[in-house]
Symmetry: C2
Subunit: 336 residues, 2 copies
């Protein structure tokens, strides 16, 4: 039925080994021969059988990305960065969406990965020791985004610094009752670090991070809205809020709108992400270079796969505070 390497070999008057070498650009092939083989292959519209090639070589030319979600800004943006880099190297991208680690049964992936890919990129699964250990046990080159793990290259932001930056910004504006919208009750490392940053900034300013000032937003818009609503319902609500993600901040803004409160003017909001739509909502946020993070992780993985690089670099990418209308000096508040 379909053209095989033998057809090409025959038509070009050489052996299959030569065809293989010629087409893959390996050395020790006469330039003329190579050219002829290429021409013949093109004429016959020959395409190597990936299955056969994989079986014989043991390489798959494929990378798996394991991610909790595909359809959320952070994750789809990371994916896009990864995809770019892999495409440049002609490596296929296999996506495993494993769901919220807090609620989903577990990675379906570990056993699947064996023999299926040459490398793995894991995107921000909270440090869930047994699962990640399983994953690494397969012995595949691996690269993490958003989680640190000893011996594994990773790319993260400095979560503590980001949390501190956002909180400090609110403090600098004169706020003293600063609430925090965090993710889940049982925090991932990244979430814990952001919380730490908040606490550090508060204490550094002589402020007390009361537990009544914290609400959980589960990293969703709806969760953020609920969290803000709950903060507002308190006897003595905060005058400013640090949200751990833009999505939750969006929800918080929504809650404020519903209560007829102006973000910035009445209650200040700052968060972390640099979501595509944060500008639109005039949200002050600590931006992280998300697509970049995907690119870096993919590049690190490719280097490892080629054996060029065995270092397990823990890369930290920079974040930048982008000040917008959701944080306005307290002085101006009274005018509003």
């Amino acid at each position: 039925m379909s053209i095989t390497i033998r057809d090409v070999a025959q038509a070009a008057g050489v052996s299959t080994a030569t065809v293989s070498r010629a087409l893959r650009g390996l050395p020790h092939v006469d330039p003329e021969t190579r050219e002829r083989v290429r021409r013949v292959a093109a004429e016959l519209d020959y395409v190597v059988s990936p299955s056969a090639s994989r079986l014989a070589s043991g390489r798959t030319g494929t990378v798996a990305v394991i991610t909790p979600f595909i359809d959320r800004w952070f994750f789809s943006t990371v994916l896009s960065g990864i995809s770019d880099v892999l495409q440049e190297s002609d490596v296929d991208l296999l996506v495993y969406e494993v769901g919220d680690p807090a609620t989903s049964p577990g990675l379906p992936a570990e056993r699947r990965l064996r023999g299926r890919v040459d490398g793995v990129i894991v995107v921000t699964l909270p440090t869930d020791a047994p699962r990640i250990a399983d994953m690494l046990e397969i012995g595949l080159p691996t690269s993490f985004i958003g989680v640190r793990w000893p011996g594994v290259p990773s790319v993260c932001i400095d979560d503590a610094a980001a949390g501190r930056m956002a909180t400090q910004h609110l403090i600098n504006l004169g706020h003293e009752r600063i609430g925090i919208i965090s993710g889940r009750p049982q925090a991932s490392t990244s979430q814990a670090s952001r919380a730490l940053g908040y606490v550090t900034a508060m204490k550094g300013a002589g402020l007390t991070p009361e537990s009544s000032l914290e609400a959980h937003g589960y990293f969703t818009v709806a969760g953020g809205e609920a969290a803000m609503t709950s903060l507002l319902s308190q006897p003595n609500p905060p005058t400013a809020v640090f949200a751990m993600s833009d999505d939750m901040a969006f929800g918080a803004i929504r809650a404020l709108q519903r209560h007829g409160i102006r973000p910035g003017g009445d209650i200040a909001i700052a968060s972390i992400d640099g979501h595509e739509l944060s500008e639109l909502l005039d949200l002050t946020t600590v931006g992280q270079p998300v697509e970049q993070m995907g690119r870096i992780a993919a590049e690190a993985l490719l280097a490892r796969m080629l054996g060029q690089d065995d270092s397990a670099d823990e890369i930290t990418v920079p974040t930048t505070l982008v000040v917008r209308g959701s944080t306005v000096p307290v002085e101006r508040t009274s005018a509003g």
Copy 2:
């Protein structure tokens, strides 16, 4: 090094053929034998080699999704729906991000796909005849989202109806100068249909769709903002605008904000999508069931791959107008 089917066969005291049959749940295997084989395989932690299995069987257990983007709401949401369905059937998901068809060189995929996947889902590439024809020439089961093609199953919304619905809503509110923010100068079928819906509604109301009322937003937030800005700069700007996508409507809202114009109160905006954040921005939009579309396309493809279904159904999923603050009756405008 790693466990092969032979190790299992030996340990279970049967032939490799029996192991293969037993593990794949094929008939004609003694229940006891099957059980024993399963147990032994589990004990040895045996995993079939996908490459070998593919080479021998000719099946890959993999589906490719070809999409212009990963990191935009519509596409990531579709992907997520597809991923759900494939995962349930234990089929791998290969993602090819091919970029904006208007600017990218072309599908890098056609030749890649051969032998690599058992089926393909193509997401809204504009009807670009040669490319799609190439794609179909490979003879792989294929399923389209957002494009119709003779002989190929597809899932779409009724774009014309959606455009009409949004425009009619604006007309019903009393608007007469209704602008349109479309995508690109050279329209895809889907875009053309939305435009047609707009024109139909306008003419049906005895209104004239002037060309000065149209601006291109290229389906991006920034593009939408530029388009709205250009509409506003006209001597006689529209009092309402139909945007072909939520992202462009977001941009348009941004433009209004910058000009101190209140969306809804001063200039009404309606669009198509049902973006996750449209509620947040109080945007009236014709919602499409995007994740659902992905699910349906994936299910149709799987059915085809199993040969259960050879029909090339052209499925149309329903849309729903969601009215929000960005369209407020003209009567109330004067009060604002």
